[in-house]
């Protein structure tokens, strides 16, 4: 009787733990879908996830971490260059080109769009447009960072089953 009840408890406990994990994974999948639905990410993010394997199960998180570390330098350069008068539009465009390249590589859709707009303002020699667009870009950059931090935290908790899937 004792042994039966022990096995029962163990089964229930395993079942509960499995259900929790399944729930976590659904939550992660739902969060990822919303990042695509809200336009924060594009197909390139899926391409990165498809590169993940057992040897590098956190590859996407590593890339995103590298992106934020590396791009902070570019953002500082942009800020410094935007403070000079008159504005050096060529230099601004060059720095933004690099930043756009990195943003594009991680699938940062909204950030990339603001980079494109900024470069259009540079081509037009529109200083006010550049400043406005830069501020908007920083907002999108910060917003994406926060969302991805949450997403990766949840994904790590849910476990390594999550594989790349294409958004609906």
């Amino acid at each position: 009787m004792h042994s039966n009840s022990f096995h029962c408890s163990l089964s229930l406990s395993l079942y509960s733990s499995t259900m929790d994990r399944a729930h976590s994974r659904r939550h992660v999948a739902s969060m990822k879908q919303s990042l695509f639905d809200q336009g924060y990410l594009d197909e390139q993010f899926i391409q990165l996830e498809e590169l993940q394997d057992e040897a590098n199960p956190n590859f996407v998180e590593e890339i995103v971490t590298l992106y934020y570390r590396d791009s902070s330098r570019l953002i500082s350069n942009l800020e410094n260059t935007l403070e000079r008068k008159p504005l050096d539009f060529n230099k601004l465009d060059t720095i933004m080109h690099q930043f756009k390249g990195s943003s594009s590589s991680i699938g940062a859709k909204k950030v990339k769009a603001e980079c494109t707009l900024f470069r259009e303002y540079c081509s037009a020699g529109n200083a006010e447009g550049c400043r406005r667009s830069f501020q908007q870009m920083k907002k999108e950059y910060a917003a994406l960072r926060k969302k991805l931090e949450t997403y990766f935290h949840l994904a790590r908790q849910a476990g390594p089953l999550e594989t790349a899937f294409r958004p609906k």
Partner: protein, 133 residues
């Protein structure tokens, strides 16, 4: 003969050099190559790419970025070709005007793709190097 070819296929090991000043792109491209079992190295500008060839290293494939400090992709490609390097050199850049691509191709590229690369594009490149790969 067929079994010999199969054995050769099993031992094919392509090598690649990723030339890009952007760490994020370099890491992504190197991971793509790792995943298809292409042995690879990364360098951060055209000069390092040239120097590594001067040291005697050779690669089946060179993925060459365009905009890089010290020596850009066009200069590096011209230099490598003038050294007699016959590797497949594929330009990979986010520049997309026809004129810029044309100029890059004229430096000696075999092919050009817009960044970022994906697995499908990389597979087509590797297939060009070796149809059995």
């Amino acid at each position: 003969m067929e079994s010999q070819n199969n054995n050769q296929n099993l031992t094919i090991q392509l090598t690649a050099l990723v030339v890009d000043d952007n760490k994020v792109n370099r890491k992504i491209h190197q991971k793509m190559l790792d995943n298809v079992r292409v042995k690879n190295l990364g360098v951060k500008n055209g000069k390092e790419a040239v120097d590594i060839h001067c040291d005697g290293r050779r690669f089946d494939l060179i993925l060459m970025d365009l905009d890089m400090p010290i020596m850009n992709g066009i200069e590096a490609t011209k230099e490598l070709r003038s050294m007699g390097i016959s590797s497949m050199i594929v330009g990979v850049s986010s520049r997309c005007t026809e004129a810029e691509i044309q100029k890059f191709m004229e430096a000696g590229l075999n092919d050009y793709h817009e960044k970022p690369l994906n697995i499908a594009k990389l597979s087509s490149i590797l297939h060009m190097i070796n149809p059995n790969y």
